[in-house]
Amino acid sequence: MSTYVRHIHPRAAQGVTATQWRALRAPSLYARFLHQEVTSSRDTPARVQHGELPQIRLVVKDNIATSGFPTTCASHILAGTSIPFNATIVTQLCRHGMEVVGKAGMDEFGMGTHSTTSAFESVCNAHPLEAYSAGGSSGGSAVAVREGRADIALGTDTGGSVRMPAAYTGTVGFKPSYGMLSRWGVVPYANSLDTVGLLSRTVRPIRQAIVGLRLYKEHDPRDPTSIPDTVRSRCTAEREYYAPTAGPRKNLKGLTFGLPLEYNIEELDPRIRQGWLQAVDTIQELGGRAVSVSLPSTRNALSAYYVIAPAEAASNLAKYDGVRYGYRDTNGSSDAQDGVLYAKTRGSGFGDEVKRRILLGSYTLSSEAIDNYFIQAQKVRQLVRRDFDRVFKLKNPLLDEQHFDLSEMDESVGIETKLGPAQVDFLVCPTAPTTPPLLEQVRNQTPLDSYMNDVFTVPASLAGLPAISIPMDIPVDPASEEQKLLHFGGLQLIGQFWDDARLLSVAERLSKHVAKNIAGSP
């Protein structure tokens, strides 16, 4: 029944949480928090001040270190393991008065698309969709939000792991620019792609966390990939909507939205396609302009992702050997099997999907394959980023100005000026090619089928760009019971690097109009 709170010793964990919460409420501590709030409230809008809000309940994905809870990454190999410190993101949110109420189930080590590879318990979608996939890998976080057990949930997004469950559960899932939120305390899957993501019912709490609580400003010296303060200031100066007083946009006048031609794939569910087009109509009604754009490297992005992510994962997961922490296979008198240490521990500690990706990654990094796989994938990754930089009006603040060759562009894209095709503020596309599949179907899928689901979410991850999935209405055949249940899809908006604030602002405005049936409703 409980789809998200998941540990080996739930009672013990709850006990610890309760104690912590009491400590938090202790007068002296409370006063200290208040003091901090007062000093920082000068430029903070009144509505996020501590004490005026009801307690915000936070659910944390089980690969993010949280004091008082085990952190297992849904893997047998870390069963019962606690990481003895708090992740920076948890510390930050708790400092702003949020309370961790539980940890969320997920795919083992974040590897999966349907939150079904957990070593402990599969996650299913929220009522009345229990038979359907909740998406992955942050499925537990999404369901917690959907069921109203959490106001905000933390997930991690490596190739769509926050956006995909958001699309399947009718919630909002946001993946910030790479390097904005600290990854200290987040168990890495693929470091160069991993981001901490936020899920909520609506866009507003997420925008308040990122912009209102100024999380975007906080550099973490413990995370070497956290963007330094100087670069944050520079990037922020080139962007809009970071002022804490900025509200959502009134309309979309002056904004151009791009529809990537390459995203109109054969596998796209017709209802999702229809929903996408309806959303584009809505954008135009709100004063926005829609143009088609070409992202020619898209077709290679998925392959590149499934080379890079498993390679980094194989490397990251080498540390789980049962020597210092976690599960250890003690059957027999020795760890050695055929003279290879830890073979048993790793063999029985990891699930099938994890082992598959470790093997995949180990192969693509091997001396005979690295040139053809890992190196090529890194090149594709650069091309994907170039594609994005070419279509966005804003330049990438991390790179020098680049010049692009028009000859690489798809022929069907019209030339707007003599300089080339139209440039856009945001890209708009579906998050997932289909509505959530039945869990039963998922079980019969080959791994390759489920990898296909990530086709729309992976490019933004490869380029480190901010992206958000918001619910959108899709056409429903009143005769179909299933279609009446699955009456929503996920609409994804992608922005240029560090354009997170404006992206959230536009998404907040748009979400009310593209999902009339679902937004905010339980």
Binding site: I64, A65, T71, C73, L78, T81, S82, I83, P84, F85, A87, R183, W184, G185, V186, V187, P188, A190, N191, S192, P221, R222, D223, P224, T225, A311, E312, A314, S315, L317, A318, K319, D321, V323, R324, Y325, R328, S333, S334, D335, A336, G339, V340, L341, Y342, S362, L365, S366, S367, I370, F374
Partner: protein, 642 residues
């Protein structure tokens, strides 16, 4: 005169910071993230069975053996084998074969913190007391490059004449071993921070005679990397792991395969250690386990100059200079024997134990792990500014070779003594010598006799150590040389005074030695404020004999020495040994404290040349003639009787 202060200059290394073990200890106490009780309890004893007794992984844990034990083992093995090995010096070449060797040296950098965490570096502290989350590969912890490691790393690279790369990167080298918590070592494989260096070895560095006056060895690259944890073997297949060492910064120095003689390879390793010491880049020498070498060895026949290099094997973890030379010789001989018997050399990794006569196989090609090098996705590229490199150059100080050249060429010191001066007491004796030179310069300025320098060196290297060596009944006492060119038990000012009085002929050598004791025992300045007061107070002035007294003494000394004096007849150059015997006799007979051996010698020379030798010749000739006459008379009378 150039002021050479390598030890003093090294203080500027960390931009004015002094590295001392004491600082480190305070640092560690306030360190924020050591192992907490909860994680410490997770550290377990690793229990494993391995069939071969060798670590199954490809990185055999370097287990450090104390030097004294090494030497003992070596002696024992030699005794057991009962055979005297051929001396290495005669074993540098095998006719018909060419040896080729490349070397990789791992050295621990002299830093306060580990390479990617702020845990303190330590050597003999309690196990598992300096461990940050990242060192244990705690999930969710991340590496933060500690910039201070760049200082010793850059100094090492500059001392080895490398090109510093303005951009370098860190890579993960994957292999499983319990001493490697994350399952990979962070190193610089694809883009190291230093490339294309070289080191010139000269004959004085102890290279093989076959390499002549000198040889230049190319250095391919230098990379920064992490050390592994220390394994402490316990009885019964149990290993304890001390994570204090894990993540400590190392540099790996990789040479081109340009060695052809074993002694030269050993000389290279020795010289690298001296250099790293001189620039304060390295923590401790080979003997203390701070430096380890791997050698790649191959042989090929010399008959075909176009033949490619032979298949190479690698010998890992050599921990002394002698081991480097011995292992290369043993491996060379093994390879030649295999090839001459018609076999082939397999590319494999081999090991060497001190004192043995052959290398042993650790693992073959099939056992090699594919390290799956991957750029570390967490660690940003390292950008090294030209200003930093410039600063490092400016504060590098003089390198040992330059110091040696200066000593030999400008101070006329013998190469052997110059080497001793530079290498003893981490250069502190050199500093002391330079302080004395300052006093000598103040005394004599431009009129200084260059011989004074060599004399001073002799006293520093040979007379001063006697002060401590002769007191064997007492616990060993240190002279207490300091890095700023002073000596606690022999203040430079007093020593310089003794030397100056000696050079001026105001005291003799015996008195000078006696005065060393005065200073060493604290009578100067305790009893007498200065050396001068001691000489005056104890009446130690050298009152030399008058010329007449010298001549009279010489006459006495030469009495009855005709047998020796005969060697001086009709020779251009007097036989030195015989002359010195006579000088010694003169000193023995006369009042020693009033005799200057040089004057005694010149008086003797003159007397022998002008007087004794010619007179003896005449006497001898006369005696010979008398004998002749006598003999011929006998002959005559004999014939008369016949």
């Amino acid at each position: 005169m150039p002021q050479i202060r390598p030890a003093a200059l090294s203080k500027y290394l960390l931009r004015g910071q002094l590295v001392s073990r004491r600082c480190l200890r305070t640092q560690s106490r306030i360190q924020a993230s050591p192992v907490t009780a909860s994680t410490a309890s997770l550290v377990r004893y690793l229990h494993t069975a391995t069939a071969t007794g060798e670590p199954p992984s490809n990185e055999p844990a370097p287990i450090h053996v104390p030097l004294r034990k090494q030497l003992k083992d070596e002696a024992k093995k030699q005794k057991e084998s009962g055979t005297k090995k051929k001396k290495n010096v005669d074993n540098q070449v095998v006719d018909g074969w060419e040896l080729t060797v490349g070397i990789e040296i791992h050295a621990q950098l002299n830093t306060e913190k580990k390479l990617f965490s702020d845990a303190a570096t330590s050597f003999n502290d309690d196990p598992n007391t300096h461990v940050a989350y990242f060192d244990l590969a705690t999930p969710g912890s991340q590496p933060i490059f500690q910039k201070a490691a760049l200082v010793p790393a850059l100094r090492a690279a500059l001392a080895l004449n490398c090109d510093i790369q303005l951009v370098s990167r860190f890579d993960r080298k994957h292999y499983f071993h319990w001493d490697q918590p994350s399952g990979y070592q962070i190193t610089q494989y694809y883009e190291p921070f230093a490339r294309d260096g070289h080191l010139r070895l000269r004959s004085r560095d102890g290279i093989a005679a076959e390499d002549g006056e000198g040889v230049s060895i190319g250095i391919k690259q230098i990379q920064m990397e992490q050390d592994t944890a220390k394994t402490v073997a316990q009885p019964g297949d149990v290993h304890w792991i001390d994570f204090n060492r894990v993540g400590m910064p190392l540099i790996e120095i990789i040479t081109h395969p340009e060695f052809h003689h074993p002694a030269t390879a050993a000389a290279f390793v020795r010289k690298v250690q001296t250099l790293l010491d001189a620039v304060d880049a390295c923590v401790s020498g080979m003997e203390a386990g701070g430096l380890r070498a791997d050698v790649n060895v191959s042989v090929r026949r010399t008959d075909d100059p176009n033949a490619p290099l032979g298949q190479r094997t690698e010998i890992k973890n050599l921990s002394s200079f002698k081991a480097v030379e011995d292992a290369i010789i043993a491996e060379r001989d093994r390879q030649i024997a295999v090839l001459e018997a018609g076999g082939t050399i397999a590319g494999e990794t081999r090991g060497w134990s001190i004192g043995s006569t052959e290398t042993r196989r650790l693992r073959g090609k099939e056992g090699e792990v594919d390290y799956r090098y991957m750029p570390d996705p967490d660690i940003p590229p390292l950008f090294i500014g030209l200003d930093l490199i410039g600063h490092m150059w400016d504060t590098l100080g003089m390198l040992p070779d330059d110091v040696l050249d200066t000593l030999i060429q400008e101070f006329d010191v013998s190469p052997k003594d110059a080497m001793s001066l530079v290498s003893l007491d981490e250069g502190k004796r050199l500093e002391y010598f330079l302080t004395i030179v300052d006093f000598l310069m103040a005394q004599y300025s431009d009129d200084i006799d260059f011989e004074y320098y060599q004399h001073t060196v002799n006293w520093i290297l040979h007379e001063l150590p006697r002060l401590t060596a002769e007191r064997s009944d007492e616990p060993a006492q240190d002279l207490g040389f300091t890095t700023d060119g002073e000596c606690l038990r022999m203040p430079a000012r007093h020593f310089a005074d003794i030397m100056i009085h000696l050079f001026n002929g105001e005291i003799n050598t015996r008195v000078a030695k006696e005065l060393l004791w005065f200073v060493f025992r604290g009578r100067v300045p305790g009893e007498y404020p200065t050396v001068l007061d001691a000489i005056a107070g104890e009446d130690l002035w050298f009152r030399e004999l008058s010329m007449d007294e010298y001549e009279a003494l010489a006459d006495t000394a030469l009495q009855g020495q005709d047998d020796i004096l005969r060697h001086f007849i009709d020779v251009l150059i007097f036989p030195r040994g015989k002359l010195m015997f006579l000088v010694g006799r003169m000193i023995r007979i006369g009042p020693e404290e009033r005799i200057d051996p040089n004057t005694a010698e010149s008086v003797l020379r003159r007397k022998i040349r002008d007087d004794y030798a010619p007179n003896l010749k005449i006497r001898d000739n006369r005696a010979a003639r008398l004998l002749e006459e006598k003999d011929s008379g006998r002959l005559c009378s004999g014939s008369g009787t016949a």
